[in-house]
C-alpha cells in the first residue's frame, strides 16, 4: 500500500474515533456534574427561595426529569449541534462559546508564539558549547520557568509592570474607554481589519502581559525539548557523516540537525495548544481575561450544567482536532513514522 493511502487510512481511523471520544467525554461530564454536590437551583435562586418557586424552576429547566431522560435529551440535542441554553441567563451555549473562545485562542496563540521564539532561542543558545555557562543558564531557565507557579508569576508580573511601573493595563481585554472592534472576536485581527490604530494599540496593550506571562511559563518546555533533541541529533551518525564531508558546523546544525530536532517539538506544540485552549485558567483569572477557561470555571461554580457540558465538549473537540492535525503533520514531515 502506498504511503499516501496509509496516511489517509490513518487519518480516517482517527477521525472515526473522534466522535466516540467526544461521546465518552460528554457522558463523563454529564454524570460527574450531576454527582457533584451543589444544585443549579441554589445558584439561581439562592437557598432562601420557597420550595414552590424552586420546584417551578426545576420543572421549567427540565431538571425534574429522571437522569436517563435528561441524558437522552442532552445527547439528542448534541447530535443536532444544539448545546442548549445557559441556565443562568438563557443565552445559547454556542453564543457564550462564540464570545469567549476567540479570547482564549488569541491569548493562547500569542503566548505560544512567544513561548516558541523564547524557548527555541534559549534551547538553541547553548548548543555551541554543551555544558558551558550558556547551556547551564538555558537548562536552569527551562526548569525554572516550568516550575514557577502560574498564579504567583502572573501576580508578580502584574504588580511590577501594571501597578508599580504603570506601563501596561492590570487586566481585561480592551480599554474601558474604547469600543471593542466587532467581527470575529479576535480583537487584534478585527482592529487590523478595521484599520483602527487606537483599537489595535488597545488590544495589544491588554494582550502583552497575559501573553508574555503565559509564553514565559511555557517557553521552558520548548527550550528543554529543543536542547535535548538537538544534542541527541548532533550525536547521530548522519550528522557525523555530514561533518566528515567537510560541511561547516553552522550548516550541519541548521540544515541537518535542527529540522529533525524540531519534529518532537512540533508534537509538544500540539499538546501545548490543546492544553492552552482550556488550561490557561490561572492566567485568565489573574488578568481578568474573558476566555473560555474563565467562563468554564464560573459555570462550574454556578452549576450551569448545559454551559459546562457545552464548553467541555467544544474544547474536547478542538483538542481532538489539534491532536489529529499534529499527528498528520508529523507523519507527513517524518518519513520514518509507520502506521
Amino acid at each position: 500500500m502506498s504511503r499516501r493511502r496509509q496516511l489517509l487510512g490513518y487519518l480516517g481511523s482517527r477521525l472515526l474515533l473522534a466522535p466516540v471520544m467526544l461521546w465518552l467525554i460528554a457522558t463523563l461530564v454529564f454524570l460527574l456534574l450531576r454527582l457533584a454536590p451543589g444544585d443549579p437551583i441554589d445558584a439561581l435562586l439562592g437557598t432562601r427561595a420557597p420550595e414552590a418557586a424552586r420546584q417551578a424552576l426545576r420543572q421549567q429547566l427540565g431538571l425534574d426529569q429522571p437522569l436517563p431522560a435528561q441524558y437522552g435529551h442532552f445527547l439528542a440535542d448534541l447530535v443536532k449541534g444544539n448545546l442548549g441554553e445557559s441556565l443562568t441567563n438563557q443565552t445559547p451555549v454556542l453564543e457564550v462559546i462564540r464570545q469567549s473562545l476567540p479570547a482564549s485562542l488569541e491569548l493562547g496563540l500569542c503566548a505560544l508564539l512567544i513561548a516558541a521564539v523564547l524557548g527555541l532561542a534559549v534551547g538553541f543558545s547553548g548548543i555551541a558549547r554543551p555544558e558551558g555557562r550558556l547551556d547551564l543558564a538555558g537548562r536552569l531557565y527551562g526548569i525554572g520557568t516550568y516550575a514557577l507557579p502560574p498564579f504567583w508569576a502572573a501576580m508578580v508580573i502584574q504588580l511590577i509592570f501594571a501597578v508599580w511601573l504603570g506601563w501596561l493595563p492590570v487586566g481585561g481585554r480592551f480599554p474601558a474607554t474604547l469600543m471593542p472592534p466587532s467581527g470575529s472576536g479576535f480583537y487584534l485581527l478585527d482592529s487590523l481589519r478595521a484599520g483602527n490604530p487606537q483599537q489595535l494599540a488597545g488590544s495589544l496593550r491588554h494582550l502583552v502581559l497575559p501573553a508574555s506571562t503565559l509564553g514565559l511559563l511555557l517557553s521552558g518546555i520548548f527550550a528543554n525539548a529543543l536542547r535535548l533533541n538537538l544534542r541527541r541529533v548532533l550525536r547521530s551518525d548522519y550528522v557525523e557523516a555530514a561533518r566528515s564531508r567537510g560541511l561547516s558546523e553552522t550548516r550541519v546544525v541548521l540544515r541537518h540537525a535542527l529540522p529533525n530536532a524540531l519534529l518532537p517539538v512540533l508534537t509538544i506544540t500540539g499538546i501545548t495548544v490543546a492544553s492552552l485552549i482550556g488550561g490557561a485558567l490561572l492566567i485568565e483569572v489573574t488578568y481578568s481575561w474573558p476566555g473560555i477557561a474563565f467562563r468554564l470555571q464560573e459555570a462550574i461554580g454556578q452549576r450551569d450544567y448545559p454551559l459546562v457540558q457545552g464548553i467541555v465538549v467544544v474544547v474536547a473537540a478542538l483538542v481532538v482536532l489539534v491532536s489529529v492535525t499534529v499527528d498528520m503533520l508529523v507523519a507527513v514531515l517524518d518519513p520514518r513514522i509507520r502506521f
Binding site: A36, P37, G38, D39, D42, A43, L44, L45, G46, T47, R48, A49, P50, E51, A52, A53, L57, S86, T88, N89, Q90, T91, Q99, M155, Q158, L159, A162, V163, G166, W167, L168, P169, V170, G171, G172, R173, F174, P175, A176, T177, L178, M179, P180, Q198, A201, G202, L204, R205, V208, E284, V285, T286, Y287, S288, P290, F294, E298, G301, Q302, R303
Partner: protein
C-alpha cells in the same frame, strides 16, 4: 546600520505601546468593580454589580435616600391604601419617557411587574405579597395584596422592579433580554459586554442630569487586579464588592492620607453564625447561649477586618427601624463558662464543635482561625473548634440538609426593611415544637423556631409604627435568648475615587449614585 534601524523601530513601537494609555473623552469616568455581569435584565439578575448598573440606567418607583428616608421617584406619592389595606394605588409620574421614546405610564408598569412575576428569578418576593396588578388610570397603578403589607413602598424601591419599555421588551416578555436595557434612568446603556459596559447620559431624562459626561464600567475578575487598577489610576472609581480585607484597609488608609476619597454606604449586609439547633450538641439552648457569650466580637472585627466590619449583636442592621442593637449578649467568657458548665462541659469534658467556613471567601477563613484561637485562649477546657472549609455553592446546597453544626454566612435583604432580615432567617412553614421542618429557618440551616413565631413574623409585616417596631425588637430578643444564630459583623459598602473626583455618595439601598460622580475643579482638590 540595518540592525540599528530595526532596533530603533522596535523601540519606537514599544514606546508607543507602553506610552499610549487610551484616554476617553473629557468628563467620562471609569468605574471598576469585581462582579462580572452576565445579564442586564432585571428579571434575570440579582447580583450586586448588575443591580448597581441597573440603578443607573433605570428608575424604581421609590428610592431610599442616604438618610434612609423613602422618596418617590417614578411614583409621585406613597401608595394610597384601601380601608382593609388589601388594595394599594400608586400614583405615577407623568411626562417620563423610556430610552426608546416610549411613554412611561401605568400600562408600562403593569407590563414590567407581570413580566417579573412570570419570569423573574426572584418573582416569589413579589408573588408572595401581590395577587394582581392593573392600571387603574393612565398614570395610576393598582396592586391587590395577599395581606396587609407595611413595607410595600420599600419593596417597590427594589431595583429589580425598575420599569421596562413595553415596546423594547414586547418580544422578550417570556425570555430574558440580557444585553440590552431600555428603562427610564439618567443614563442609557449604549454598549454591553459581560466585562465592560458603556453608559451615556439620557438627554430626555425627566430628572436631574448626570454630573458627568458618561461612564465606562469595567469588571475585573480578582481583587488584586482591581486594587492595582485603582492604585495605578486605571480606574477613577472603585466599588468595594468582594475586595479583600487587606486591600480595603490599604485604600481606606490612602483615603485618610488624602490620596483617595472614600465613600461609605449604609451597612445593610450582616455576617452571622448559624447553629444547627435541632441536633446535639447544639440542640441544648445552654450551649448555644454559651457560644453566643464566647464570641469576642471586637477582637474578631479588629483581627479579621481591621475594624472595617463593625461588630454586630442584632439580626437587623442598626440603620433600619426595628433593630435592637444589643439583643445578643456581649462577650463574656465567664458567663460562657458558667453556661458550658451547666450544660455539662468543662472540667474534663470538652465540646468539640465542627465549624465550617466558605473556603472561597478569605474573610471567612480568617474568622475561623481567629475564633478558634480565641476560644482556645478563653475556654480551651470547655470547647474546641474543629475548623473545615467548603466551597460556597456546595455549602449552600447542604445547608438545608442540616450538614453543618455551625457555619459563617452573610445576608443582605433585597430591600431595606427589618422584615427582610427576620423572615428569611426565622420564617417556618411547618414545625414540630421548636423544630422547623420546612421553610426559611430550615433552609438557613438552623432549623429553629418556636410556637407562634411564624404568626408573629407575618403579623409584623402588616403592623405599622411603634407597634411594629416593638414587635420586631421583641422577636429579636426572643431569638437572641435561644441563639440559633449569632450575629457577627456588619458590612458597609465602600467606594473609592481618585482625589480629583467628588467623593462617592451612596443611596439608602447601599448603591453608589453614579450620576453624582464628577471631576472636581482643580481649586477644590487636596494638595498632593
Amino acid at each position: 546600520m540595518k540592525r540599528l534601524r530595526t532596533v530603533s523601530l522596535l523601540a519606537i513601537l514599544m514606546g508607543a505601546l507602553l506610552g499610549c494609555q487610551p484616554q476617553g473623552p473629557g468628563g467620562r469616568l471609569v468605574v471598576g468593580s469585581r462582579t462580572r455581569i452576565d445579564s442586564v435584565d432585571p428579571a434575570a439578575t440579582y447580583s450586586f454589580g448588575a443591580l448597581q448598573l441597573i440603578s443607573a440606567i433605570g428608575d424604581p418607583l421609590y428610592v431610599i435616600d442616604a438618610k434612609g428616608q423613602l422618596e418617590p421617584r417614578l411614583a409621585t406619592a406613597l401608595p394610597r391604601l384601601s380601608p382593609d389595606r388589601l388594595t394599594a394605588w400608586v400614583p405615577l409620574r407623568q411626562g417620563v419617557r423610556f430610552h426608546d421614546g416610549t411613554r412611561f405610564d401605568a400600562a408600562a408598569m403593569v407590563f414590567t411587574l407581570e413580566r417579573f412575576l412570570a419570569i423573574g428569578k426572584l418573582s416569589y418576593l413579589l408573588g408572595d405579597r401581590i395577587v394582581s396588578v392593573r392600571a387603574s388610570g393612565s398614570h395610576e397603578l393598582e396592586l391587590k395584596l395577599r395581606r396587609p403589607f407595611t413595607a410595600l413602598p420599600q419593596m417597590l424601591s427594589a431595583v429589580s422592579l425598575t420599569p421596562l419599555s413595553p415596546t423594547a421588551y414586547r418580544s422578550h416578555d417570556k425570555r430574558f433580554l440580557n444585553d440590552r436595557f431600555v428603562g427610564t434612568g439618567p443614563y442609557k446603556l449604549t454598549f454591553f459586554a459581560d466585562q465592560q459596559q458603556r453608559l451615556e447620559p439620557f438627554n430626555d431624562y425627566w430628572g436631574e442630569r448626570p454630573a458627568n459626561k458618561g461612564l465606562d464600567l469595567v469588571n475585573l475578575s480578582n481583587s488584586t487586579a482591581l486594587y492595582g487598577a485603582m492604585r495605578s489610576g486605571e480606574v477613577d472609581v472603585l466599588l468595594s464588592t468582594s475586595l479583600e480585607g487587606d486591600q480595603q484597609l490599604s485604600l481606606h488608609q490612602d483615603a485618610q492620607r488624602g490620596r483617595l476619597l472614600e465613600g461609605v454606604g449604609p451597612a445593610l449586609e450582616i455576617g452571622y453564625l448559624t447553629l444547627l439547633s435541632d441536633q446535639p450538641p447544639l440542640k441544648n439552648p445552654l450551649v448555644r447561649r454559651a457560644i453566643a457569650h464566647s464570641l469576642d466580637h471586637e477582637l474578631i472585627s479588629q483581627r479579621v477586618t481591621h475594624g472595617l466590619r463593625p461588630p454586630l449583636r442584632d439580626l437587623v442592621p442598626p440603620s433600619l427601624s426595628g433593630s435592637e442593637p444589643t439583643a445578643w449578649p456581649a462577650y463574656d467568657p465567664a458567663q460562657a463558662r458558667r453556661l458550658f458548665e451547666q450544660a455539662g462541659y468543662c472540667r474534663g469534658r470538652t465540646l468539640n464543635l465542627p465549624f465550617t467556613f466558605r473556603s472561597n471567601i478569605p474573610a471567612d477563613k480568617l474568622f475561623a482561625l481567629i475564633w478558634k484561637e480565641q476560644l482556645r485562649r478563653d475556654l480551651g477546657d470547655c470547647i474546641v473548634l474543629e475548623v473545615s472549609g467548603m466551597e460556597s455553592t456546595t455549602a449552600y446546597r447542604q445547608l438545608g440538609e442540616g450538614a453543618f453544626a455551625s457555619i459563617l454566612l452573610e445576608w443582605m435583604g433585597d430591600y431595606p426593611d427589618a422584615d427582610n432580615y427576620l423572615q428569611p432567617l426565622l420564617g417556618c412553614n411547618k414545625a414540630v415544637g421548636y423544630r422547623c421542618l420546612e421553610g426559611p429557618s430550615a433552609a438557613s440551616g438552623s432549623f429553629w423556631t418556636r410556637p407562634g413565631l411564624n404568626e408573629e413574623l407575618l403579623l409584623s409585616q402588616s403592623l405599622e409604627g411603634s407597634e411594629r417596631i416593638e414587635l420586631l425588637r421583641r422577636l429579636q430578643r426572643d431569638t437572641a435568648a435561644a441563639a440559633p444564630y449569632i450575629p457577627v459583623w456588619l458590612v458597609a459598602p465602600r467606594a473609592w475615587a481618585q482625589a480629583s473626583l467628588s467623593t462617592p455618595v451612596f443611596d439608602g439601598s447601599g448603591r453608589v449614585v453614579l450620576s453624582q460622580l464628577q471631576q472636581r475643579p482643580a481649586a477644590s482638590r487636596p494638595a498632593p
